[in-house]
């Protein structure tokens, strides 16, 4: 069984985000790019399954322009066997469902039996594509998993269930799983891995390769995203004075009750 891992290039978590002049996106000039942190947990889980003899190959699937190839190489350097970049002018402006159609088609073409993704990409924070891929393929899905075991065709995983509780659930491959922090500790690339990754070719598949005709790109999108803006400014706060920690604590409690009215 081949395991697919979705990998997305995103701005680093410590990046400041600046809005561009016409509010259609962010300024990317000074952005440091990283692999989406949740995708690292997905890749690590896939590599561990491969090392346990439960997968024949780990295939990185990544949608993006040529400038994202450094991130794909990072995935290869950590141990993925091959990688496909999914790119076509026809994909530009896709909403999540359009992106899911591209990835679902790529899963079929690459004969993926288990797709591992991050629970969310930390740029758009949409939490949409993996579940949409699962629906398009008719596969089971488990979201935001913190444990994973594969025995034969049975996947057993823990997911958050709200109100602080969790569910241990089972599904069968083929399936889509999204990975949460805590599932594992991602490995770093080794020097040998980096050298090997340099020599590997990254395939690039477009709409024609994937047999996609419509349903992708801006024309196929139901969702329009616009009006990028900085977050609303918070009103200025104040520092609480007092002779002692106890006096400051008393004053804070008074303010929270009488001024902010939150206790």
């Amino acid at each position: 069984m081949k395991i697919g891992v979705c990998l997305k290039q995103v701005p680093a978590t410590d990046s400041a985000i600046k809005i561009n002049a016409d509010a259609t996106g962010i300024v990317t000039d000074d952005v440091k790019w990283i692999v989406n942190p949740y995708d690292e947990f997905a890749l690590e889980a896939a590599l561990q399954l491969k090392e346990a003899g439960q997968a024949s190959e780990v295939v990185v699937l990544s949608m993006g322009a040529a400038d994202s190839e450094a991130r794909i190489k990072d995935g290869l350097a950590r141990g993925a066997g091959s990688a496909v970049r999914l790119h076509d002018d026809a994909f530009a402006g896709s909403d999540s469902l359009g992106i899911a159609r591209v990835i679902a088609a790529a899963c079929k073409k690459a004969e993926i039996g288990l797709l591992l993704c991050g629970r969310q990409a930390i740029d758009t924070d949409n939490w949409q594509v993996p579940a949409m891929v699962a629906e398009l393929l008719g596969w089971g899905q488990v979201s935001a998993i913190s444990t994973l075991a594969l025995e034969g065709e049975t996947v057993t995983a823990t997911r958050a269930a709200g109100s602080g509780s969790s569910h241990l659930v089972q599904t069968r491959v083929p399936a889509v799983l999204t990975c949460d922090k805590g599932l594992n500790t991602p490995r770093f690339a080794t020097l040998k891995g980096i050298m090997m990754a340099k020599r590997k070719k990254i395939a690039c598949w477009g709409a024609a390769d994937l047999g996609l005709d419509g349903g992708v790109g801006a024309a196929g999108a139901h969702v329009t995203v616009s009006g990028y803006a900085p977050p609303a400014a918070r009103p200025a706060g104040r520092v609480i004075d007092g002779d002692s920690p106890a006096a400051k604590a008393q004053e804070l409690v008074r303010l929270l009750r009488e001024e902010a009215k939150v206790i």
Binding site: D125, W127, V239, I240, L252
Partner: protein, 324 residues
Amino acid sequence: MGSGILVFAESDGGQVKKTAFELLTKARELAGALGGGVSAVLIGGGDTAGLAAHGADTVYTVAGDAYGNYTTGAFTRALQTVIGQADPAVVLGAASPVGKDLLPRLAARLDAGLGTECTALDVVDGQLVGTRPVYAGKATVTVTISSSPAVYSVRPNSFSISAGAGAGSVVAVDVALGADDVLTQVVEVKASSSAVADLTEAERIVSGGRSLKSEENFQRVIVPLAQSLGATPGASRAAVDAGYAPHSWQVGQTGKVVNPELYIAAGISGAIQHLAGMRTSKVIVAINKDAEAPIFQHASYGIVDDLFDVCPALTEAFGAALGD
């Protein structure tokens, strides 16, 4: 084209969750501008009268053994069936663990657009517009959806709740589940180990940073302060990575995004990735002995002092103020 707004009301152990009332209150306001009625769907049981009292004209109910625990396949089929019957223009749900798993699958099945985890919904020129944080709150965008229905999920605690009676007629819907709808089984439910709300739903949070220096200090300083307020304990990434607190406590861009009424940050400097996870909190209190810590620029109230002195004093003061 459908009309009206359908709210997916989550319930937990037969108890309708607070988010359902937040969504219904907002749905009433939006329906006034968009036209059409407000309905709710309750899958697996719960109090329909409460939904009516917050504005549902119709409450669709789906009952059966398949809905005792949430599973993606059964709930997707149930919601799809109700939508087929109710034909709403807009479907609203909570951006909860269930909503984040269910709504994208539903949207794909309906060939519909989805706007995730909105913090505002408004009607502009007759069209529904969602506002949502991106880059973990370092920016916001507006989202419009051309499909019918349009599906939006909403961050818990984004909207206030007010009562407003709806007609509340109850319509039981029969859902035919096929083998394809049973893709996952819940084999074990692990109940929350704490009595407090999950971070993502909490109204009060007390978080600690690396300055706590040890897991023992988290238990000794942060946990009692949280308990004095009925708050949920949280932590910064630095504290989690140092092993002082579990992953499930992490607030920030690679942890949980929270939206409480009151957020108390003790010994947290305010790294950009932490601020991203808590900046929509209504009131932020920062306790840090470093007056230059970036967290103070975002705090409603700041105390510049040693957290090991302030937190116990605060625990006592909250206990005295809230215990009466």
